[in-house]
């Protein structure tokens, strides 16, 4: 029960982060929203594993956290390129 409620809470956090990413003043706000979204997905995977009573698939959560991090770094890296050369 608590697990399910936590799932819903995390999902709503994700929805809010998505809303932030969709309409943001600056590109950095978007990235911020997306980063929050990414970390919460990793949490949600773990929660869903417990909810479906098969928590041994946490490897996926690791991948999510990892890919989220790499995606963030890539965004920052390539955004620096366009920021300097695009203008």
């Amino acid at each position: 029960m608590v697990l399910a409620a936590t799932c819903i809470a995390v999902l709503s956090v994700m929805a809010l982060a998505l809303a932030r990413a969709l309409q943001a003043d600056t590109v950095y706000d978007r990235i911020l929203g997306i980063n929050m979204f990414g970390t919460k997905t990793a949490v949600l995977i773990a929660l869903m594993g417990f909810l479906s009573e098969r928590p041994d698939f946490l490897d996926i959560a690791i991948v999510y956290a990892l890919i989220n991090f790499i995606g963030m770094i890539a965004v920052l890296r390539f955004f620096e390129y366009t920021a300097t050369s695009g203008r």
Binding site: V10, R20, D29, M36, I62, A65, F69, M72, F79
Partner: protein
């Protein structure tokens, strides 16, 4: 039984922190305070939620994996936020105080 209760409390508190973070994403006035809201709550919520989940395991491989994910997130998430804030700073995003000053001098 006790473990489960503690776990439930941890999960609820964690969810609460996660929600406040998301709320802060909209309510704070400038970018750097929003980063603050997002990243600090992110860390505490992740810690609490994962601790809550660890208490629900039989302390086997699953718990080890959970700890691994937790450590991983705790390493990467603040780093990403830090890098983001730093990039924003270099990219010329002004803090609230700065933009206020600017408004004053302009006016």
């Amino acid at each position: 039984m006790i473990l489960e209760t503690i776990s439930n409390i941890l999960l609820i508190v964690g969810a609460f922190f996660a929600l406040t973070g998301a709320y802060g994403l909209f309510k704070f006035p400038d970018f750097f305070t929003r980063v603050h809201a997002a990243s600090v709550t992110d860390s505490i919520a992740t810690i609490l939620l994962f601790l809550g989940l660890i208490l629900r395991t039989d302390f086997d491989l699953v718990a080890v994996k959970l700890v691994f994910v937790l450590v991983f997130v705790l390493l990467t998430s603040p780093t990403a936020s830090h890098a983001l804030a730093k990039s924003a700073r270099h990219g010329g995003v002004a803090t609230l105080a700065e933009s206020n000053n600017k408004d004053n001098t302009d006016g």
